[in-house]
């Protein structure tokens, strides 16, 4: 079910639990699915030199990012026997405790769904031009860098 059209992965602000529930519910008609794996990235209240992160302000080179997301999706469909795959990433402000990344893989069997999900998360972290400003309580900030 690889889809050739480049989709918009970005969501303004946090990804809500309701959006995740709706996405799960939409898959209940696909009765060839036996396993879903969902990865959620949540903004952490890290303490850096005595100051606590309040939010991350995400920006991206959106047009390129959506193309890279598309390439990552296509390569995952090639590597793994998946029924469905969905990726959403926040742009703009996401507060601590809120969700900024939602990766959703579905397959007949658990192994494929789990391996694909992990692959996608690593690829996204490494390859997509998304930038994050960690904003502290006193409105100072620092630029986040993925490990």
């Amino acid at each position: 079910m690889a889809d050739k059209k480049v989709k918009n992965v970005f969501v303004e602000g946090p990804i809500t639990p309701e959006k995740i529930a709706n996405s799960i519910a939409h898959h209940q008609v696909k009765t060839n699915i036996g396993a879903h794996d969902i990865f959620l990235g949540q903004v952490r209240a890290d303490v850096i030199e005595g100051k606590t992160v309040q939010a991350i302000d995400y920006s991206a080179y959106e047009e390129m990012a959506n193309k890279v997301f598309h390439e990552i999706r296509e390569s995952a469909f090639d590597k793994f026997d998946l029924t469905c795959m969905h990726i959403y990433h926040s742009k703009g402000l996401v507060k601590t405790g809120e969700i900024c990344l939602f990766v959703f893989t579905s397959s007949a069997h658990r192994k494929e769904a789990m391996e694909a999900c992990r692959y996608l998360v690593e690829e996204i972290k490494a390859k997509v031009p998304i930038f994050g400003k960690e904003v502290f309580e006193d409105a100072s900030f620092q630029w986040k860098v993925n490990q």
Partner: protein
């Protein structure tokens, strides 16, 4: 060479702008990187040309869309 430059994240912050068109004395990514290295000081960055990550020896062409990308932080 006329290039459409796009800056992101920490780079946009440091250069006080997100985009500009410049005529730069560079023809490869390596030359472009060394041109910007001194402006950007310690910020590591990669370069995308027409929305594809570019290698050091890639050639630039007139009117290319060039993006300077600081470290990624998605997820």
């Amino acid at each position: 060479m006329i290039l459409k430059l796009n800056y992101f994240g920490q780079i946009a912050q440091m250069l006080h702008k997100e985009e500009e068109v410049l005529d730069l004395p560079v023809t490869t990514i390596r030359e472009l990187k060394s041109y910007y290295a001194e402006k950007l000081q310690t910020i590591p960055f990669s370069v995308a040309v027409n929305q594809q990550l570019a290698g050091e020896t890639d050639q630039l062409n007139e009117n290319d869309e060039v993006a300077l990308l600081p470290p990624f932080a998605g997820g």
